[in-house]
């Protein structure tokens, strides 16, 4: 396990992403849990968000004016726990309790006993509606906070998302940002083989959103896009982040297998070596 303190001054998002990946590998391997591929896929997005885009205060996780971040793809919870710990919301040591009997860090992201988690998710298709409610509330209050919701691509199969997308477009919630971890792999097969999302951009546009496409592993690009929302005043923004599932571990990249498989033994050692060498 890495040790870390609350960062002072600007945060190096690349270093944070590296820590998130390594923590998540330890956590999922120790816990015998799934979804390492999903965490590696979104690690750079989460690192850029927690590395300076999100206006949050680790010392006051309920600060009313904070930006809200919702991990709607809750199965990648290990990545958010790691980011929160590295940002000082909880001790890094607590990450060792992930997936352990009687403790709080469940596989799917949970707010109970975990400061900084806005919403417990796990069933897909919930986060965007709740985020839209937070964004609408902020609008009606005249508050300037922003709401970021990170979704998986497979999650976009859920009809409830499209209710929320329709709603946010209609109500011009430009303080709402959907970030899609678009790695093109679902749990059993690829996205095009399962339920094709393309033309994905056109779908969001048709619902009144401003679409920005981005390399989901390019920190400068991510910082530029996420730090500059809304992309257009008067419309919600969706950032379609083109990502690689399992990013950072060669044998996990672009495979369906590592949605569920847990790295053990030699696989764990090789994965850790690759992540540490990044």
């Amino acid at each position: 396990m890495l040790t870390a303190a609350v960062p002072e001054g600007p945060i190096d998002s690349r270093a944070l992403a590296k820590k998130i990946r390594i923590h998540a590998l330890h956590m999922t391997s120790r816990g015998g849990s799934s979804h390492i591929g999903s965490v590696l896929s979104m690690a750079d997005i989460v690192a850029v968000l927690y590395g300076g885009v999100l206006r949050v205060d680790p010392k006051d996780s309920k600060w009313p004016a904070r930006d809200r971040f919702i991990l709607s793809k809750g199965h990648a919870g290990a990545g958010v726990y790691a980011a929160l710990a590295e940002r000082g919301f909880m001790p890094v040591e607590k990450l060792k309790t992930y997936y352990q009997d009687g403790l709080e860090l469940c596989g799917h992201v949970s707010h109970k006993g975990v400061p900084g988690v806005e919403l417990s998710t796990g069933s897909l298709g919930h986060g965007l509606s709740v985020g839209a409610g937070m964004a609408l509330g902020a609008k009606r209050d005249g508050a300037s906070l922003r709401v970021f919701v990170l979704l998986s691509d497979g999650e976009c199969d859920e009809g409830s998302n499209w209710e929320a997308i329709l709603f946010a477009g209609h109500h011009r919630l430009d303080n709402l940002v959907a970030v899609v971890d678009y790695n093109k792999i679902q749990s059993l097969a690829s996205v095009p083989e399962t339920l094709a999302l393309e033309p994905f951009t056109n779908k969001w546009c048709a619902f009144g959103w401003t679409v920005v496409e981005c390399d989901g592993h390019d920190h400068d690009a991510l910082r530029g896009v996420l730090g500059g929302v809304p992309a257009r005043a008067g419309a919600p923004t969706v950032v379609l982040c083109h990502t690689t599932k399992g990013k950072g571990v060669s044998f996990m990249e672009n495979t369906v297998l590592w949605h569920y498989r847990t790295a053990k033994g030699d696989e764990f050692d090789r994965a850790l070596a690759e992540l540490e060498a990044r």
Binding site: S120, S123, L136, E163
Partner: protein
């Protein structure tokens, strides 16, 4: 009931800017008053109950007290997981209001029969479950749930028992109201069908059978003590609900009493046993058809009292 609910909600919203109402595109001509009076506290989310409930949770987690409003099963079963995972698990101040409990929309067909909602909502941890029986209970319950933390479910009915409150009576969620005293048996009703229980008690009284009538407007928290007292002090207990007999009021009474070892001398659950109703019928017609009208209650009560009398004679 819905007019009584809306009128009280407007008053509450005027007093508390945190109060917010979202409708799932229903309430034509009914919610107009609210929207006109409190436009900044009103939203029509469209025909999208899952999103409506998620929105309500997001608004509630940001400091509002949010009522969601729709009819029959739309604000509950259609979006049950949003009610469970988003609102209830986060203990959000979301108040789910369904207009049209039981067979209120009888002739509209099975989709509009809310006949399993109490059992299902009651199974979700932390949800306060309320089904008022009269207009006064509606008004008081509306105010009470607005002030109750967490998720509450308010089931409103087309029918009601009118106004059953006594002068200066105070309402409390989770406190059964005894509307009529009696020791021959007790009729415990939840929801608008309370009116049927009161009518049945009147008929029974004319025959010399004194029925206690309990208005069980709240299923959770549940007033065990008043039910236990009815078991101990009366000759038997009949529960009455416009709902399947599984898991609603009758089920709640049975499981509570059995576990506590307080067994009524006789017990019967009146409710829907016939499965889905697929025939056309008004609320009144369907109650009669499925053995939930005053006549059916009277017949069951009479049989209960007679069989006890016969058992007594045999001894």
């Amino acid at each position: 009931m819905r007019d009584a609910f809306v009128a009280r909600l407007v008053r509450l919203a005027e007093a508390d800017p945190r109060l917010f109402l979202i409708t799932g595109d229903l309430g034509f001509g009914v919610l107009t008053k609210f929207e006109a009076a409190r436009p900044a506290q009103f939203l029509n989310a469209g025909v999208a109950e899952s999103n409506m409930t998620g929105l309500a949770t997001g608004l509630a987690l940001s400091g509002r007290v949010v009522f969601t409003y729709s009819i029959a099963n739309f604000p509950t079963l259609r979006c049950l997981e949003q009610v469970r995972n988003d609102a209830a698990y986060h203990e959000a101040d979301v108040k789910v209001v369904a207009i049209g409990g039981g067979f209120s929309y009888g002739a509209l067909g099975m989709s509009h029969h809310a006949t399993e909602d109490l059992a299902i909502l009651r199974a979700i941890p932390g949800i306060t479950v309320v089904a008022p029986g009269c207009l006064w209970e509606v008004e008081e319950a509306t105010e009470a749930i607005a002030a109750t933390p967490g998720v509450c479910y308010l089931r409103l009915d087309k029918s009601s028992a009118g106004r059953t409150n006594r002068p200066r009576e105070a309402f409390a969620l989770g406190k059964i109201r005894t509307l009529r005293e009696g020791t021959d048996l007790a009729l415990a009703a939840t929801g608008g069908i309370l009116g049927v229980a009161l009518a049945a008690a009147e008929t029974l009284a004319a025959e010399g059978i004194r029925a206690r009538v309990l208005s069980v407007h709240t299923l959770r928290p549940f007033d065990e003590e008043t039910v236990f007292r009815a078991c101990r002090e009366t000759g038997g207990l009949i529960t009455l609900e416009e709902h399947v007999v599984d898991g609603g009021l009758g089920g709640l009474v049975a499981e509570t009493c059995l576990e506590a070892g307080v067994v009524p001398r006789a017990f019967h659950r009146i409710g829907l046993r016939a499965g889905f109703s697929s025939i056309v019928g008004s609320q009144e017609y369907l109650r009669t058809r499925y053995g939930m009208d005053a006549e059916a209650v009277v017949a069951r009560a009479r049989a209960m009292v007679r069989s006890r009398a016969a058992a007594g004679e045999a001894r």
